[in-house]
Symmetry: C3
Subunit: 315 residues, 3 copies
């Protein structure tokens, strides 16, 4: 999330009650989570395990719970509770606000688009031309939809991320990381019925041009789906993952977080993808591997009793 | 989909800008996709790979992109782009029309039926007697529901098929095949919460008498579920598949398209069904096979290290 | 379900047209299904296979289809059709009633709670302080929600159980067991988008304090989720199961009914849990077993061809 106006280091230190170390002269342009960080962004880190990753990222500004070494052009904001400080910023710059009307008066809709009855549309939503938004769809705040997009009944665009700050010494272990990102749905995308697409935690979830989803597809926060991808029913894709163009996922496939599936890869039904996959190949099983090899494994499993029968007399 | 009035071959050729070959005297009674075609129907084919299947089907009328050999009682309509011609027919005979009211004034409801608040009901819907349609349900156009049917909250009946015309030389690879079929839900069916049942592409998706679905069940277009089937939560069944009577699918089972599961077959939880299954047996695993054999495989897998230990000294 | 006023044995026998055997002096305080039964409760049993379990349970009152031996302090109500008698009681004490208003006038909401547009809320619902109920959520009757609870868009709380009385000699094999229980969602719980949580058949489904659900999670009737559990997207948990505190289920896990997962257990993505699991361990696969051992099995499967190559020459 970019701030509408960049803010000074002094303003931020004052707002957070933080001690400043390092560069005080640059302006902070926004807040971001570590997978999506850009120059000018502020991030937070509250565990020494992640200090290095954070300090070596593109983030220029870091909220942290103790001093540590860092490049002189960066800025540390030292506070006792970095996560709470981060939340304070989100709540200040993009506060949760109640909505009274089913369709926000801020909605911008292009010519020829149809919005069915019983649809909810939140604030800061843009819908392009010749779209069909079917009944009982929910479009939350900060969603941008291109032209010729179809969203079938009951789908939910822009729900909050499943992303928590964990501390097992609290009575409530998991505290919500408030989402402040959005969703971008490009032209010619079609979303089936009963799908859920979470918005970015600080950035955008993106569905690329011409991609088509069957029913009950779940897309996690900050995930980027390429162009002309085909995603069958009941597929789930966790957060901050990338599907390159032309990827095909068949029914009930599960994909883990922060990985990449290369262009034109095909993943067969019910497979599980725990780590990145190269493009232009077909995958199967858990963990998803080359489909032919994996299917041969099924044949070899069937041969175990026969192998044992043949060999046991040699003992 | 049957036309309200049959049309002549000449009318259709004129409407499509097509060249006619073959029989010009019969009337065209409707349009259908290849899995559901009946006498009098018009189908389309745009790839030589499928010419034979199409010409040998029950279809009397075929939209095709070049001349080929065919029985003399059939009719070819030759056009450059058969898929686009097909879409033109659908859009002419069953155009997408916008709806302004949450419950269509064309709704027919039987005595004793309850329709909760926040329900959407489209055009050409019939609901029988003593039904309960729970809140936030979406019933799209062309759905017929029998007596004593329960549809729990948030379910979507009659969403459009996940069915696309694919051409990878276009910038948008996948073009929607507009659905013009419907859904038939017979007496005493109960649908759980958050289910999605797609309508037929040209024909009907059917849920047979007395069948019961748990929550989040997905049923693809043109699929036919028999009587007294029991389908547990999060099962997905792809398009144009048939479940005979009394089939039981346990939780998270996935079933592929255009196959048949025989009567009283039971498929255990999380199994995957890529091809047809005979009735009156219990299945497990991927690919779903006789449950006992498949569970024995799990035992044999556990024995591999022991087999290796016993045999390796013989090398 | 507890009756508002306890009823006498004579009243019940008269209401059901039942013959009484045993103790006539105690009052019946409610009705329950066998997994949840407490002292003073009435249960039903219609198959000799379950007579013993029923009679040895805490139930003091039993609707049964024939006389059998039982402890003298209990009471049998003998009727031809115990299931139908049970339904008659549910329909009398907690009848299904139609609702005309999207949000019931009986709703009690705490300070600072936000209820979005297009939400449905049934009868006997209590919502605590500082909750967010997002658009298109459905909250059915008899749901109690604590403080600081978030329910994201399109989720359904309190849908009816997937629980049927089966008799294959009827034309409709499965008859609905009418649910009369509720749902309790404790403080600091967050439910993702598009989830479904069934109410108890006679008791309550419970989501413990501080537990967090991702999108499209399904929870069956009478299931009890402990405190600080984390449940990822597309997980399904069947009825009357218990998750102790701190359990983590990753994406697309399936859990069977009436089992227990011990505290702090972790079940990895896509695993299937057919029977109870001890706490403080990590599990994987189907059936879910110790994750390390199970992942070693995947390595051994890959070694089968190599083992065969090495050994076949010894034949």
């Amino acid at each position: 999330m970019k701030f509408e106006q960049p803010v000074t280091v002094d303003w931020m230190a004052d707002f957070l009650g933080a001690t400043i170390e390092g560069n005080k002269s640059d302006l902070i342009t926004g807040i971001n989570e570590i997978h999506k960080v850009e120059k000018g962004d502020l991030v937070f880190v509250d565990h020494p395990k992640y200090y290095d990753k954070c300090i070596q990222s593109d983030a220029d500004f870091i909220i942290i719970n103790q001093s540590t070494s860092f490049p002189p052009d960066k800025t540390l904001f030292i506070v006792d509770q970095p996560f709470e400080a981060y939340l304070k910023i989100v709540q200040h710059f993009r506060p949760f606000t109640e909505t009274k009307e089913p369709v926000s008066s801020t909605l911008v809709v292009g010519q020829g688009s149809y919005i069915a009855p019983n649809v909810y549309i939140g604030k800061n939503v843009v819908i392009g031309k010749n779209c069909r938004i079917h009944p009982n769809v929910t479009i939350m705040d900060h969603v941008t939809i291109g032209d010729n997009v179809v969203i079938q009944a009951g789908s939910i665009i822009g729900s909050d991320a499943f992303y928590y700050n964990t501390k097992k010494n609290r009575s409530v272990w998991y505290k919500r990381m408030e989402s402040c990102g959005g969703v971008i749905i490009e032209d010619d995308v079609e979303i089936g019925a009963g799908c859920t697409i979470d918005r970015g935690v600080t950035h955008n979830t993106v569905i690329g041009r011409g991609s088509k989803f069957d029913n009950m597809v779940h897309i996690g926060h900050d995930t980027v789906i390429g162009k002309n991808c085909l995603i069958a029913a009941q597929v789930g894709i966790a957060g901050a993952t990338t599907l390159e163009d032309g990827v095909v996922l068949w029914g009930q496939v599960g994909v883990s977080k922060t990985l990449t599936i290369g262009e034109n890869a095909v993943v067969l039904a019910q497979s599980g993808v725990p780590s990145s996959l190269a493009g232009n190949k077909t995958y199967f099983g858990y963990p998803a591997e080359d489909a032919l090899s994996k299917k041969k494994e099924l044949v070899w499993i069937k041969r175990i009793p026969e192998i044992w029968e043949k060999l046991k007399d040699k003992l």
